[in-house]
């Protein structure tokens, strides 16, 4: 790991501990020897109040490449997650997480987490990442909402 990557991640951790949005959690994972792995984080994204997603807290993993912060981290929801912009593997399709699009080295963990929370209830039908959720979202809203509510229960707090 480059020193730049490490230094920045330590700072991200400090900042997160000092202040983070309500209902969210994020922490580095532990290596098998018990030491902290700053390059892989686990976090929880609460659904926005007043939306179908509100009931759940959705677990994500954040993996930082060695080239971070030049390159964006890879953020994943559980495989098979029901959302139009989440690939079957769980990888999230979001422009701020895409190096060719809107990723900037100055983007923080907080911004990423808030960005994902935002995406949950406002999917982008123009960049579908999976068939089932995208199809229902654009063709059959009733079914879509039913499935989302069911999923929220599954990930309930």
């Amino acid at each position: 790991m480059s020193s730049l990557c490490l230094q920045r991640l330590q700072e991200e951790r400090k900042k997160w501990r000092k202040d983070h949005p309500f209902g969210f959690f994020a922490k580095p994972t532990k290596k098998t020897d018990g030491t902290m792995n700053l390059q892989k984080w686990e976090a929880g994204i609460p659904g926005k109040e007043g939306t179908l997603w509100a009931e759940g807290v959705y677990p994500i993993t954040i993996e930082y490449p060695n080239e971070y912060p030049s390159k964006p981290p890879k953020v994943k929801l559980p495989a098979g997650f029901y959302h139009p912009n989440v690939y079957p593997s769980g990888t999230i399709c979001l422009s701020i997480l895409n190096e060719e699009q809107d990723w900037r080295p100055a983007i923080t963990l907080k911004q990423i987490c808030l960005g994902i929370q935002d995406l949950l209830d406002s999917p982008n039908p123009n960049s579908p990442a999976q068939e089932p959720a995208w199809r229902s979202f654009s063709k059959n809203k009733v079914e879509y909402e039913k499935k989302v509510a069911l999923q929220a229960k599954q990930y309930a707090k």
């Binding site: 730049l4 230094q7 920045r8 330590q10 080239e67 900037r104 080295p105 100055a106 983007i107």
Partner: protein, 561 residues
């Protein structure tokens, strides 16, 4: 290069030839091959004579042929002494209108800069900004102009050339573009507090120079527009050079041009040779279809003299066309596991069984141990090869007598047949490489000699030309085995093709043998020999290529799995 007029003459001929489907004796296509047949006969008679006669002999053949064909309206073309270069142009695929240029990324970039200079009066912004716009629109001038007329100011904002009022950080102090020197600066990217130089654009997002350098370094090879580390404001080339401390924006521009070339692969092709930096640009690709139809291949040559096929990106593969080449390569890849044994570089001397490594291109081997002379390919005595024909290109179909065969026998025979052709193909590939290597060493020796006795470099040109001809001859020979493999063996034309193949193989081996002359003095003395043999190889090669194309046009050679 020959003039266009000559090209079109040849082309028209071929067009009319399409209709004359009769026999191979139809006058036009036989332009090269019929003389060869005659020459073939002559060669038997004169094989004992000196090599100098071979060229004359061929001229005779052409005259004879003309006499036979009175109503020929192409007399001028035939009567013209067909020089090597015109011949080359005629058959190397320079069918009309293949006008191309050889460029480098730098060359393309400079051309873009010139265009920008031209366009500047249309825009009210500095050339550096137009450059960014061009980069954004993949160097597509028309699209840029269209968008520009549509929404000038919005465009500048959208791409990040102008600051949007809402994006400015409320920090009046740092809202100037450029480098600053700061005490106790806390950089948000690396999270370090230090006294350092910093950089920011008009947006006021200020970071330390080290972070910016890391960031830019990572992006230079991607060729995309580089923006501020926080917002979408663009770093111009000047900013990049200022941050990096040297002209790094050049690398970015070159990467951008590279992706431009990749995206326009229909018109632009990288030279496929290792480490070659040239790009061939074909403006008008409409004639490519015509090439395919006539079984020509659009061969192009970069400024490093690397020749390759613009269509399939492979080396010059005549007489095979792209389809045959493709099928052959696939097949060879599939079968190569079975054929690994073929690829070994050593063979045992058929007489004394000592292991022999082939370190030159010539197939005439002399065992260092027992002095036995044999042919590398068929491993039988060399004597019959030298005097009569070079039989080694012939696949002996020894199953002629049998009528009933089981399917396993059939498969075995098919594999055997392929193995034979594959082996031939490989032998000539390896030989071509060895010839090239040997040629380089000989070249150095001759050059040294020239400097010693003070003759001009032009005196030694024959050597490099001969090596070039030799390698091209071997390459054509190599690919002719792919054509032969896919051709109907019972057809008369295939037999003619195989005869032509033998002639080229013989010519090539003779030229290759000349290269084995060790002393540079002797090489200089043999200059006329080199010229004769090289001319011979070239003629044979062109004849073989025409004949191969004929097989393809008439559907006798059909690539199958």
């Amino acid at each position: 290069m020959a003039s266009d007029e000559e090209y079109s003459l040849q082309f028209d001929e071929d067009e009319s030839d399409e209709e004359v489907t009769a026999l191979y004796e139809s006058r036009n296509t036989s332009e090269f091959t019929l003389p060869d047949l005659i020459c073939h006969k002559h060669a038997t008679i004169i094989s004992q004579e000196s090599e100098f006669d071979i060229d004359d002999d061929e001229d005779d053949a052409i005259h004879e042929y003309e006499d036979e064909d009175d109503e020929d309206d192409n007399d001028d073309l035939l009567a013209l002494p067909i020089t090597m270069s015109t011949k080359k142009a005629l058959s190397e695929g320079s069918v009309p209108n293949l006008k191309y240029e050889c460029l480098t990324t730098q060359g393309i970039y400079e051309r873009m800069l010139k265009r920008i200079h031209h366009l500047q009066p249309l825009f009210s912004i500095p050339p550096d900004d137009i450059l960014i716009l061009m980069q954004h629109y993949d160097w597509n001038e028309e699209r840029l102009l269209e968008k520009w007329t549509e929404k000038m100011d919005d465009l500048l904002e959208e791409i990040g050339l102008n600051v949007t009022s809402k994006k400015i950080v409320d920090n009046t102090n740092s809202n100037t573009r450029g480098l600053k020197y700061r005490k106790d600066f806390s950089c948000f990217i690396c999270c370090d507090d230090k006294t350092t130089e910093t950089f920011s654009l008009e947006c006021g997002h200020e970071y330390c120079l080290d972070c910016y350098r890391h960031y830019i370094e990572d992006k230079l090879h991607e060729g995309n527009i580089i923006t501020c580390m926080d917002c979408s404001l663009v770093l111009k080339n000047l900013d990049i050079d200022q941050i990096m401390g040297h002209a790094s924006s050049n690398i970015l521009m070159r990467s951008s041009i590279k992706s431009f070339v990749q995206k326009h692969h229909r018109n632009y092709k990288w030279c496929p040779y290792a480490d070659c930096k040239f790009i061939i640009h074909l403006k008008d690709t409409s004639s490519l279809g015509e090439y395919t139809r006539l079984h020509y291949s659009p061969f192009v040559k970069c400024n490093e003299s690397h020749r390759f096929c613009f269509h399939c990106g492979f080396e010059v593969h005549a007489p095979a066309d792209c389809n045959v080449t493709n099928a052959w390569i696939k097949k060879a890849r599939k079968e190569s596991d079975n054929l690994n044994w073929v690829l070994t570089h050593t063979k045992e001397c058929p007489k004394c069984s000592v292991n022999i490594e082939k370190n030159g291109g010539c197939n005439h081997m002399v065992c260092g141990n027992c002095k036995y002379e044999f042919c590398w390919i068929c491993e039988s005595a060399w004597a019959p090869h030298g005097k009569s024909f070079y039989q080694c290109t012939m696949y002996n179909n020894d199953d002629n007598g049998k009528t009933k065969t089981t399917s396993t026998e059939d498969a075995a025979r098919r594999l055997k047949r392929f193995t034979f052709y594959y082996r031939m193909f490989n032998e000539h590939e390896v030989s071509a490489k060895l010839d090239w290597k040997l040629g380089q060493t000989v070249g150095i020796k001759v050059k040294a000699l020239q400097e010693k006795i003070g003759v001009s470099w032009i005196e030694g040109q024959f050597l490099s030309e001969s090596i070039q001809t030799l390698v091209e001859g071997r390459t054509s020979l190599k690919w002719s085995f792919a054509v032969a493999y896919y051709s109907d063996p019972s057809h008369n034309l295939t037999k003619i093709f195989l005869d032509n193949q033998i002639l080229l193989a013989k010519a090539v081996e003779e030229l290759s043998e000349l290269l084995l002359t060790k002393q540079p003095e002797a090489i200089m003395k043999k200059k006329p020999d080199f010229y004769n043999k090289a001319g011979f190889v070239e003629n044979r090669r062109l004849a073989l290529m025409e004949c191969g194309r004929d097989l393809l046009c008439k559907g006798i050679c059909k690539p199958t799995d």
